[in-house]
Amino acid sequence: MASLKDIRSRISSVKNTQQITRAMKMVSAAKLRRAQHNIVNLRPYAHYILSVIGDIAATQRVSHPLLKSVDQPKKVLVLVVTSDRGLCGGFNANINKFAHEFYQSNKSNYEKMDFLLVGKKAIEFFKKREIPPVDTMLNLAKDVSYPLAAKVADRCMRAFTEGEYEAVYLIYNQFKSAISQEVICERLLPVDLSSTNFAEKGQPGAMFAQDLIFEPEPEEIIDELLNKHFAVQVYRCMSESVAAEHGARMSAMENATKNAGEMIDNLTLTYNKLRQASITTELIEITSGAEALKG
């Protein structure tokens, strides 16, 4: 049986923990707001740039290595985006589990499957399973910046154009709302061209696409546009992941604060019961002592 003093110290320690989790929740909420603002504003740009590329591809006047798709890619690069810090619920565990399953189920299909890991949590996870990554990156949440994304994008793209890989996938947490995120696996390269503003091939209006006027020449435009597109997509996925991380941490800390509150309530109840019991015992002792003296 715990003594009164033990319970008192437990209550105060839980209270301290609750204070920390509450503060972390506040911090995450503030960071989430900024990250959310970022991602919501970036999405339309990322969407439109893809549709412009789709339109150019629909003219069938350009060919670019980044657009060429292979039916059965043999050599793939997988980017896994996690966070550097824990205490954010299932955020990292979900991603790592997904990435590992992806590896297990696909490793026999591909000749070569390499991983580029972003975030400490993925690096530790893969190290434990002895899957060596080709490259790693840290400190995403601190400064998810466009130049950083462009650097990663450039690296992937160079490897892709040199024929080192035939496809590039990216596994990340997509930001749905402050309390929910979803693990998504997206193919970044070759570029998916399914969307176009022109009519489908064979339908009336499809020939409009062939009349598209280019200023300057299409080859000059498409190269720059694709570079930009890829960097923007990487940046978008990273921003999504950062926003999702803050969201996950916020709800995890919210739960922790609530649980700590419940624990404090329970402990206080036990403490009061125990206190009462000890007072009753003391009273009985005093009265029975007095009775004995009278006797």
Binding site: N41, I213, P216
Partner: protein
Amino acid sequence: MFLFSLVTPEKKVITDQEVEELLVPGFRGQLNILPGHAPLMTTLSVGILTYREKGSSTFREVAISWGYCEVTPKGVIVLAETAETKDEIDRDRAQEALKKAEKALMDPDLEPDQMKKFQRKMERARSRLELAAH
């Protein structure tokens, strides 16, 4: 009348706005787009983009820098690096940026890519000031 959208990486400036007329600083100079324009894809330079909303006779202006403009049968999409309306422009800051860029360009030992960077900065500051002066 056609639909016009202007987006930058930082924000969605205009979404599917119904406009009558559009002027963009194209790769080969000012480009006027009216309803029924042929499909076109062009890069943009630094300058002022002007558009007239449906049913309005006044032109609205936005300072943009680089990007792409695509005309499709469905509408016009402009993807710009930056886009600011007159109210958003900080004149003093633009003035300062212009001075700084001009000074940096005076340096004869400037690296070529640095030079390009400052030239871009100078152009951008100039177009901002031009719009602010209107």
